[in-house]
Every structure is written in structure tokens, then in C-alpha cells.
Symmetry: none
DNA sequence: GCATTTTGCTAACTGTAGTTAGCATACTTG
DNA sequence: CAAGTATGCTAACTACAGTTAGCAAAATGC
């Protein structure tokens, strides 16, 4: 989590917009949201949904993931490391039967202590 | 975007909960959200914020990113399937000792036939 | 069998995300 | 200079996210 995701987000969005030399209304139009709402978001008055953030990303022509990080929705990847949930990976492995998945997870759990 | 993110999400969350053999109330308590709300989410009646999804992830002991994909917040890895190598994931799991990793991989290999 | 607890859900409610109408100010153009 | 346009914002509003109180049914334990 960012120390202060809402202020961080708004500041970041405003910076991106200014760098792109776009007005608040231009970005709002391109994003398909109301310009007063974008203004409120930039000033940290409102906390937008991920869907709105996706739309803003489109309006600013930047990746949604970048914005999510500032919004506290995603952790920034530390040095490209992705923390992967082993249990989940086993569950989703198409090469295993349901029984095998369960068995493997039971073994895993016995090791990990869950 | 998933074809139907809301239904997909609810179905997915219910499946995960049932797999974990937890009641709706148990997950809601662990997530710190109201149980009627979790029920509504599972049945596709409400669209939760990313923050709620993070909380549910915690309650289910699964990664938030998995949930985000089903909620349409994150894309699944582009170019269709990114095959996650279960073997590699086990090898890299910091919760396991070397011995445990080897043992788990041996079991996996016996199932998969490699 | 019965009392108690657990379970998932409904209905009413509160708080706020997101929009519309419109304002004041700054900028542009003829 | 005046009219028109662009800009960021305010206030009032609607829709819905998320909660509380409580119900019926199922499960549990004595």
C-alpha cells in the first residue's frame, strides 16, 4: 500500500495530465467520465473504482497498471519479482486431475503448516 | 475484460470458498466485510471495489491478483495462456525447504509422467 | 426430540461514487 | 473591446456500494 494512496493517486494523475499537456476536460472526455469528477479525483476528494481508473488510463494513454499502483490496488513489483501463490498454481494446473491437485495441496499444506 | 466479469467473479469466489471449505460468514469475518454483502457479490448482485476484493482475497488466503483477473480489473496475461510452470513455482516457494521442494516436485512428476 | 447454533439470505438503511447544471475566470478571436 | 470559447470548479442530485437487523432453514449437540 502507498502511504497515502488517495493523495498519491490524485497528484500522480495531475502530473501525468500536465506532462501530456491535456486539459482536465480533454482527459475526462477521452476517458468518458465527467470533468468535475476527474477534478475531484485529482484533488483527492473522491476514490474512484478500478473501472474509472481504467478509463482514465485510456484518456491519458498510459497503462492502467501504473495507475493501480498509485491507487493501492496493485503492489509495485519489487525488482520484477511476482509473488506467486503455489497453492493456486497447483489448483489451476491443467495437467493434473482433481484428485492429484488435492493430494499435492495436502502435501504442500502439511509442509507449510496450514 | 472477461466476457461477464461480475458473474465470473461471483462464481469464482464461491468456488474458492467451497474449495477452502469455509462458510460465507467465515470468509466475510476474515475479510472484515458483512456477510450479506459477500453473499450478494457471490450471486453477482453487487460489484465490489478493489479494496473489498483485496479483503476477500485475504479472507480466502488467495492472491488479490487472481481475483482482479476475474473481476476484469487486470488482464490475464496477454497472448492467451501463459503457462505457469508448477515445477518452477514449487522450486521458488520460500515457504518450503529444499527437501520439501524436491519431494513435492517428485510427486508432481509422478503424476504428470515426466 | 428439543434447544441452540450456524448458515445464507432479505429488506431497510447510510454513506459516497459519479453526474448534471451552471458559475467565475482566463483565454481567444473578429 | 465585446463576444465566444475554454478551463477548473461548486452544489445539488441520482445510483448504488456496503452495513445492520433480523428471518427461515439446516445443522449440531445434549
Amino acid at each position: 500500500m502507498s502511504p497515502n494512496p488517495v493523495t498519491d493517486l490524485g497528484t500522480y494523475l495531475k502530473e501525468q495530465r500536465q506532462q501530456a499537456q491535456l486539459s482536465l476536460r480533454q482527459v475526462a472526455d477521452r476517458a468518458g467520465i465527467s470533468n468535475p469528477y476527474l477534478s475531484q479525483i485529482e484533488r483527492g476528494l473522491k476514490r474512484p473504482s478500478a473501472e474509472i481508473l481504467q478509463a482514465i488510463a485510456k484518456g491519458l494513454a498510459i497503462s492502467a497498471e501504473q495507475i493501480y499502483v498509485h491507487a493501492g490496488i496493485l503492489e509495485a513489483a519489487p525488482d520484477g519479482e511476482v509473488v506467486i501463490d503455489t497453492r493456486q498454481v497447483i489448483k489451476n494446473d491443467p495437467r493434473l486431475t482433481d484428485k492429484q491437485r488435492k493430494a499435492l495441496i495436502d502435501v504442500y499444506d502439511s509442509y507449510v503448516g496450514d
